[in-house]
């Protein structure tokens, strides 16, 4: 089975700095790591490989320093890691990003299943999975919390629609965006910690870096990066200024403050 995992190397958003003037992330301010949701995709890929054999290829679009994250992916069980890195990919919105990823998948040849996390922690759009699926003309399921059946050509998944769960049968090839908590054939899926041996092996492994030129047989280069992005970020500002001013008290006095507040709010 040919398994593709989409991995977004993301900054640790609790540490990274944002350049409010430019409206961009200062990527030099922190390391890039595997988007937490994508760890579940790697885990599911490994389980599928265990059942059917095959290879797991990961595809990422990121600047060169994302290599560290991809070595982590290799240590976790990905067989082949491809990094799409080129200035011409930069400034991409979800459409151009999806087009670039879909083009790379086309270049790989055939695939049976594409796995990704439901969203990234930095962009938080959850749109790239569905857009990749659309550009490759395959069905997809989003917000999947359970893979309950897995056959060679069809799978059954359960998606969390908020007020209901949908049990959906998908014909392969297909794309599945994974949510959490997650079950795979009756077992809970949690990311596992890579073994030391695997980490060492991954340190020496090769990361394939593809540039825009490597995609020129499968892609229209005008649809990549900022050139291929219909949307533009025109302004950004801090969101966390809440305008609240806390009434602060110390220690045990706090008890009467809370009780008083709860009374005023009509709870007591």
């Amino acid at each position: 089975m040919n398994i593709v995992v989409l991995i977004k190397p993301t900054p640790d958003i609790t540490k990274v700095k944002f350049d409010i003037e430019k409206g961009t992330v200062n990527r030099a301010s922190t390391n890039l790591e595997i988007n937490p949701f994508d760890l579940y995709a790697i885990e599911v890929a490994k389980r599928i490989k265990k059942l059917f054999g095959g290879t797991i290829v990961s595809i990422s679009m990121a600047p060169p320093q994302a290599e560290v994250a991809l070595r982590d992916a290799l240590a976790r069980g990905v067989d082949r890691a491809i990094l799409l890195s080129d200035r011409r990919f930069a400034g991409a919105d979800t459409l151009a990003t999806s087009y670039t990823l879909a083009s790379a998948i086309r270049k790989l040849g055939s695939f049976d299943i594409i796995l990704c996390g439901e969203k990234s922690v930095d962009g938080d759009t959850a749109h790239v999975g569905p857009e990749v699926a659309e550009l490759l003309r395959v069905p997809h399921a989003s917000f999947v919390t359970q893979v309950s059946r897995f056959d060679k050509d069809r799978i059954v998944v359960e998606s969390d629609y908020g007020d209901a769960y949908y049990e959906i049968e998908l014909r392969l090839p297909a794309l599945v965006a994974l949510s959490r908590p997650l079950m795979f054939l009756g077992e809970t899926v949690e990311p596992s910690i890579p073994k030391v041996g695997d980490v060492l092996r991954a340190r020496r492994a090769k990361i394939e870096v593809w540039s825009a030129d490597d995609l020129k047989d499968v892609a229209d280069l005008n649809r990549l990066g900022i050139l291929g992005s219909p949307t533009r970020v025109v302004k950004s500002y801090y969101a966390l200024e809440s305008g609240r001013e806390a009434k602060v008290v110390r220690g045990i006095e706090g008890v009467s403050t809370v009780l008083q507040a709860l009374k005023e709010l009509g709870v007591l």
Binding site: I13, T14, F18, G23, V25, P36, D93, T94, L95, V121, D122, G123, D124, T125, A126, H127, P130, E131, L135, V138, P139, A141, S142, F143, Y161, G162, A164, Y165, Y166, E169, L170, R171, R180, P181, P230, T231, R232, V233, V234, S236, Y237, Y238, A239, L240, S242, R244, E245, A246, K247, V248, V249, R250, G251, I252, G254, V255, V258, L259, A261, V267
Partner: protein
Amino acid sequence: MARTVLVYVEVSDGKIEDHSLELIGKARELATKGGMDVGALVVGHGVRELARELIYRGADEVHVVDDPRLGTYRLLPYTKAVAHVVGATSPEVVLFSATVVGRELAPRVAARLRTGITADCTDVDIGSWTDPLSGRVYENILYQIRPTFGGEIMAAIVTPQHRPQMATVRPGLFPIPQRDETRSGRVVEWSVELDEDSLDSIEVLEVRREMRKVDLKSAKIIVSGGRGAGPKGFELVRELAKLLGGEVGASRAAVDAGWISYDHQVGLTGQTVKPDIYIAVGISGAVQHIVGMKDSKIVIAINKDPEAPIFRVADYGIVGDLFVVLPKLIEKLKQGRLPGGS
């Protein structure tokens, strides 16, 4: 043809979803500002009866795709139907609710039409924008406003040249427009060719509606514990939540430590909540957590570190040891209840 702001309307059990009505109201506002009409698009089976209601709520024209094969929501045929009507009517703007349906359907439609889409907007507006590079002025275009970068940053996004300008908009943020039975509008029925392939490659086997065991999204009161609480502190957090008739929340650190399950997690990688009262116990207030609870009406924070960032988003801050404050608070609450027995 008039320029149009089109709203994709979600229907559940034959009823128009409230968040779709909210969007009709918002679209009305945008349309008035930009000299446009409001369109509504409803897809399903037995949905043509809903057209009148959509007009009463503010739509000028309603596009209906009514087909027995569309009775249950199915991604690919719905994508086909929406892309077909949007392609044929060329609206300026298309808005979807940022529900699970919206967030999987809208990006597929956008990719099919090769246009831009902004996810999970907290507001949309109409205005003009000057391209700083070319100097070209775009009048009456859609400003798509959304949190990004883990919610710490708000970004305004435009789609200068591609049409339609598309966005999914977070539910629950705008009022539902009043019903006005004097309004009139146009109803357009469409029949869309649904190929067997799109009908066959995804099959919905079962739809299971169920109440959540942990219902943080509609909770009025949430008491949340963090790293500072520890497993012992969580017992107090649970007890306080129970006494107040609220739900128990948690920070990521507490979930990762295994003190409580993931479905209680509030924050970026958990749930976004906005209860009337949010009590944060032993939570320092990492951005990851704050973005998930900052829209709560009243925030009470209990933490021993006076510099903890949680106090910056709190209305009441208690600087103190939770193992002193909570037991006392619980005791008082219990005493308060004894006489009335309530």
